[in-house]
């Protein structure tokens, strides 16, 4: 029961919310829409649900053209950021509502609701109203209702964004298990790369109404096709610099790096990037690239430190293991392996070199 979008776009007046997009989402793992706010994740989800009609293009679900079909006819369930529940109904009635609409018998409804409530740890709360529940419990109720509907397409629009950090962790672990046996195509929108990596599945990186790359999450993460995707999929932010290749070196202004595997590249202007956790404090025989920078500030996060470095006009971040308390202004040497470099040409496309 896969969802296919063919050249789907959406514009209202003169603003383009979604540029012509084609993508196929399959059941099995989560299909993650990753991007900053206003990238188009919600617009895309609304098109998938049938809440908005695409300006151009068609939408196919399980092979059938559903482009014009109103949302009530489609088997879609959606969970929002803002814990949407029927305020006048108890938790039990909330979860039961899609089952009752379907005309199931009272006994069957009772059994299924109990089953789902058990899964989501809502058992003792069935008689309460949503206003009497905590944020996490309200969102579990919304998820339970979505599960009860047994929809073929489940859309989760940043469902954990309004929850406490630890609650988010808890629910995030439970989510894939909840939907794995339902056979539904699940689409999950988020702004956090870390969440995408934890949920795995497939990821579509979105920016300004366009999908820049779609594929298995870890492939998109480790092997971005272009600069935008690499930037979207980095937290802490990607360290970037403009580099000019001259002969056998990359000139970065404050440093000069050997080109290593990129020796076949034509000379010219490029952009190089790398992820903060690839900057090491110790050099080993793989890390031939060295930088020396002044520490701007160090942030300690338990067992890791984020070191903010000032190099020339750039501000880079290194994510190192261990607790370090450097004073601002102190000079530090850090090392990087060229295998971890991401090189992009001036238009932003990724240049991949075959390793010898």
């Amino acid at each position: 029961m896969s969802l296919e979008l063919r050249d789907v776009s959406r514009s209202v007046d003169s603003s383009v919310y979604i540029h012509p997009t084609s993508v196929t989402l399959t059941p099995g793992g989560f299909n993650i829409l990753l991007g900053p706010t206003l990238a188009g994740k919600t617009s895309l989800m609304r098109l998938m649900a049938g809440l908005d009609k695409p300006t151009t293009g068609q939408i196919f679900f399980a092979g059938e053209d559903v482009t014009g079909m109103p949302v009530q006819k489609r088997k879609v369930a959606m969970v929002y950021q803002q814990f949407v529940n029927y305020p006048a109904m108890t938790v039990f009635q909330n979860i039961a509502s899609p089952l009752r609409l379907n005309g199931e018998s009272t006994a069957a409804v009772r059994k299924r609701v109990d089953q789902i409530a058990e899964l989501l740890k809502l058992g003792p709360l069935l008689d309460r109203l949503p206003s009497e529940l905590s944020g996490g419990q309200q969102q579990r109720t919304a998820l339970a209702r979505a599960l009860a509907k047994n929809a073929s397409l489940v859309l989760l629009d940043e469902p954990l964004a309004n929850l406490d950090y630890k609650l988010r962790e808890e629910l995030r672990e439970e989510l894939p298990r909840l939907f794995e046996n339902s056979g539904a195509t699940v689409v999950y929108a988020t702004t956090e790369p870390g969440e995408a990596l934890l949920l795995s599945g497939n990821t579509a990186a979105l920016n300004e109404g366009r999908i820049t790359q779609f594929g298995p999450t870890h492939t998109v993460f480790r092997n971005p096709n272009d600069l935008l995707t690499a930037v979207i999929f980095s937290d802490p932010p990607l360290n970037l610099a403009n580099a000019r290749k001259e002969g056998s070196t990359f000139q970065l202004g404050f440093a000069s790096w050997p080109v290593g595997h990129y020796s076949d590249l034509p000379d010219g202007d490029y952009q190089v990037g790398f992820r903060p956790h690839h900057l090491q404090l110790q050099s080993n025989n793989e890390s031939e690239l060295q930088i020396s920078g002044g520490v701007l500030i160090t942030e300690i996060s338990g067992s890791e430190s984020f070191v903010h470095l000032g190099l020339g006009e750039y501000r880079w971040v290194a994510q190192v293991h261990g607790v370090y308390q450097w004073d601002p202004g102190q000079k530090v040497d850090m090392f990087l392996s060229s295998a971890n470099l991401l090189v992009f040409d001036s238009s932003g496309s990724r240049i991949r070199m075959a390793y010898g």
């Binding site: 406490d164 956090e192 934890l198 942030e299 338990g302």
Partner: protein, 360 residues
């Protein structure tokens, strides 16, 4: 700048509270030194915002006293306490430009025009707002609006403490990152006492020199980020700090050593016999478990790749265990063996830490 002391603060939103359950804050006693960066960390409903409002004067505590530099200010309102507070969503004055917003607190206090101009320009420079001084504040992005809120606090030279109530809630993740480190730099530069309230442990640990962890109206632990990480004094702290938090497994003490299931865990110290009772839990952080071909056998349930490390979810002696494995380290698909870092094991009884005896 002031040293802030909270003495036996208890607070209830009900008018005649008697049972402990009625109280939102159940006894808080802390001293915050001048010029420090502090964080109040805890889940929703633990009372941190209530405590913040008590410090700022927006709320009067049911019991207890608030002291600024030793002087009791419990009866004083926010204006006389000279505090600045930044809220969850940006609070700016729609009618004024950025300049007007920043100047507002000074103008209200009757400061001379030239002085106002000087201070506003200085603070705008610190916060990277100099280019926008003439723009209408209402049209700016959320993070710039929060900077204006912050600027209104910095612009007053007499401010005793600046308080942040989950200020990054409405900010985009990558801007959140930027603003967070800017706040820390700002604190280093300006040296004001800053108290940061949040439920996000990364925000708390990266910003503060000292963190106060709250749970259900009580202060559970006060310490530096390193202390809270290495030596959580309560299982709640162990669970709450770290992503994911500490692994907690029920255990027994046999011959001075902790035993989980049938495995004796080597530790760098011994535990006295009188701790041989029920309610004991062994805590070890996922970061402190190493792969060791000679170690305990665990069965793998799932592996999550998070980029720069993998989280291995495994089962050890019928308990769930989470292990961090660095990027690049090979994880055998079966027969995975691990070892616990001896100095990082903690034992808890009924939630609270038990200190072992002489180190071996």
């Amino acid at each position: 700048m002031a040293e802030i002391t909270l003495k036996e603060i208890r607070h209830s939103y009900q008018s005649n509270a008697t049972a402990p359950g009625d109280f939102v804050i159940r006894g808080v006693d802390i001293t915050w030194r001048e010029g420090g960066a502090y964080a109040l960390l805890g889940p929703s409903g633990c009372g941190k915002t209530t405590l913040l409002n008590i410090i700022s004067g927006l709320l009067r505590p049911t019991e207890g006293a608030v002291l600024f530099n030793g002087i009791d200010v419990t009866a004083q309102d926010p204006v006389t306490r000279d505090i600045a507070q930044i809220f969850q969503f940006p609070v700016i004055y729609d009618t004024m430009s950025v300049y007007g917003n920043l100047a507002f607190p000074l103008v209200n206090r009757g400061v001379a025009r030239e002085e106002v101009d000087r201070r506003v320009k200085e603070v705008a420079g610190m916060l990277d707002l100099s280019e926008m001084l003439d723009q209408r504040a209402v049209g700016l992005t959320a993070d710039n609006k929060q900077k204006i809120s912050l600027g209104r606090g910095l612009v007053r030279s007499d401010v005793n403490v600046i308080m942040f109530d989950e200020p990054l809630t409405v900010i985009d993740p990558h801007l959140k990152w930027k603003l967070r480190s800017e706040l820390k730099r700002l604190h280093q530069r300006v040296g004001f006492t800053m108290i940061y309230v949040t439920h996000d442990q990364t925000e708390a640990l990266t910003f503060a020199d000292e963190v106060v962890v709250m749970h259900d109206g009580d202060v559970v632990q006060v310490g530096t980020p390193k202390d809270l990480f290495d030596r959580p004094e309560h299982t709640f702290v162990g669970h709450f700090i770290g992503s994911p938090g500490m692994n907690l497994m029920p255990c027994q003490i046999v011959d001075g050593k902790p035993v989980v299931g049938r495995s004796v865990i080597p530790v760098n110290r011994s535990f006295a016999d009188h701790e041989k009772c029920s309610g004991l839990v062994l805590g070890i952080r996922p970061e402190c478990i190493q792969l060791d071909p000679e170690g305990f056998q665990v069965s793998i349930t799932r592996i999550d790749d998070v980029g720069h490390y993998c989280i291995v979810r495994a089962e050890f002696e019928d308990q769930a265990l989470q292990i961090f494995v660095k990027e690049g380290e090979r994880i055998p698909s079966e027969n995975l063996r691990i070892r616990f870092d001896r100095s990082s094991i903690q034992i808890y009884k009924d939630g609270w830490i038990v200190d072992g005896g002489t180190p071996r």
